[in-house]
């Protein structure tokens, strides 16, 4: 009867049956036309699976520019933050950011196109001033104005100034669900001394002629609470982050590029890792964009 040996087909096909079982299996097949035909069909089906052509990965794998971190707490918190940012709604992302307990400075980015240039104010401001706001769950005084959760609303850009050629440290993120779109965050280099100023470029390039570029939301993330010992002068991680300021700026021949500056506090220990995270939420620029984009760029204090 066929059912007597069908259960052995898989291991027989893989030549995994012990010798004695194999002998009994073959003996049964020799005397059972039904099982023999069933096993023939079985093998034809699996040969056809094995014959399916191998495929080649069509795009290059992109890895973080920075080396992996050894500090476990930082990794898990960082991954939790990224997971939170990937939630479909900006509010949820901000709430998730608070929930994972990562102290973060929220920076507003403004284009340097003149007085009429659009302003992206992640902290909710619409004035020309661009404050750095501390967004930390354990520090209500430093939270966004009025206790409101900052929302991310990238603004459209009339032109698509490319990354300045001198910006060698960059992170580019694409998503197959967003054809032709590219989120870029870049700095001139990866290593900066304490007290120095970091010029940051951040932009989403789109294939749409009406809105060729968007300014992403940008946040800066410093050492997690567990790394307080790395903060200067016995300060807490929150105090450390308060010392970082950000403002829009221009720089010689790159005045048309969306730039902001970040000043690293003097005394910051060498080896401190900072993350500059650019984010484009869902529904931007199109309501069909159901996947957020997150570009994480690392800079290291030397």
């Amino acid at each position: 009867m066929a059912q007597h040996v069908e259960r052995l087909f898989s291991e027989a096909y893989d030549s995994m049956l012990p010798a004695a079982a194999r002998a009994r299996f073959e003996e049964h097949l020799a005397g059972c036309a039904q099982c023999r035909a069933a096993y023939d069909d079985y093998r034809v089906a699996l040969f056809a699976v094995a014959e399916l052509p191998a495929a080649r990965m069509p795009v290059a794998v992109v890895l973080p520019a920075s080396p992996p971190q050894v500090e476990m707490g930082a990794i898990s918190r960082w991954r939790a933050l990224l997971a939170a940012l990937r939630q479909p709604r900006a509010m949820a992302a901000a709430a998730g950011l608070a929930a994972v307990g990562v102290a973060a400075v929220t920076i507003a980015v403004r284009v340097n196109h003149g007085s009429n240039s659009p302003t992206l104010a992640l902290g909710g401001t619409s004035s020309n001033t661009v404050p750095a706001q501390l967004f930390a769950p354990n520090n209500p005084n430093g939270a966004a104005a009025g206790g409101a959760v900052p929302q991310c609303s990238p603004s459209a850009e009339p032109g698509s100034a490319p990354v300045p050629s001198s910006f060698a440290n960059s992170k580019v993120v694409n998503d197959s669900s967003r054809p032709g779109e590219q989120l870029v965050v870049a700095t001139e280099r990866q290593r900066y001394g304490a007290g120095s100023t970091v010029l940051v470029y951040a932009r989403l390039v789109t294939p749409h002629s009406a809105a060729p570029a968007y300014l992403p939301c940008v946040t800066l993330h410093g050492p997690p609470s567990s790394a307080v010992s790395a903060a200067p002068q016995n300060a807490s991680a929150d105090d450390f982050l308060k010392g970082i300021t950000a403002s829009p700026t221009s720089a010689g021949d790159v005045t048309s590029a969306p730039l902001l500056t970040v000043t690293i506090p003097p005394g910051t220990p060498a080896g401190t890792v900072l993350h500059i995270v650019a984010q484009i939420p869902v529904n931007v620029p199109s309501t069909a964009d159901s996947t957020p984009l997150v570009a994480d760029l690392t800079i290291i204090v030397t």
Partner: protein, 191 residues
């Protein structure tokens, strides 16, 4: 140099060693994800996500089988990508009426004969129609040729479960393909 030696070098900061691991496994992982999910863009996302997760976790990685572990990460990434793909009306594999879609397959080059294309399409759709746990088993073994031990790592199940799940998956697949004219042309007089 074997995978484990490359991983050890990568863990010590050798970026090129990690690059070699990517080069060595990216096509196998992509093929697995393509057979598992059916959509080339999702498959590419799985591979990207797999190596990103592997890279981030390098400092604490000590897998017995690098290949099995990479496939495990890829299987999980495939689950995540399927879960968060809200752009599809039902699933990656069916249209609104539940009919399996005839998806373009980038692995089928222009040189494939009509017969080979038909056969590949029928087999591919039969795999996609399997419940996910059986689909994983048959793809890992019969497409990617993982050992039972590597499958146990990839699927996080005991060896006995690997065998029983694979046996069941193959039986379901053979039943689905039984009598298919693409595999068994009438001219061959198949009974």
């Amino acid at each position: 140099m074997d995978d484990e030696a490359l991983l050890e070098r990568a863990r010590r900061g050798d970026r090129d060693a990690f690059g070699q691991l990517v080069e060595r496994h990216q096509d196998g992982l992509y093929t697995m994800a393509l057979r598992m999910l059916g959509r080339p863009e999702d498959a590419a996302d799985v591979v990207q996500e797999t190596f990103l997760r592997a890279y981030v976790n390098l400092p604490r990685l000590q897998p017995a089988s690098v290949r099995g572990w990479l496939f495990r990460v890829a299987v999980n990434a495939g689950h995540d990508i399927q879960r968060r793909s809200v752009r599809r009306p039902t699933s990656a594999l069916e249209d609104s009426e539940g009919k399996i879609l005839d998806l373009p397959d980038p692995a089928l080059g222009p040189e494939a004969t009509v017969e080979a294309r038909d056969r590949a399409r029928v087999v591919r759709d039969a795999i996609l129609a399997l419940p996910i746990e059986y689909r994983e088993a048959v793809v890992l073994r019969d497409v990617n040729e993982l050992s039972y031990e590597e499958m146990a790592v990839a699927l996080r199940v005991p060896l006995g479960t690997v065998k029983s799940r694979l046996s069941r998956a193959r039986a379901m697949l053979a039943t689905a393909l039984h009598g298919s004219t693409a595999l068994f042309p009438a001219s061959e007089g198949h009974a």
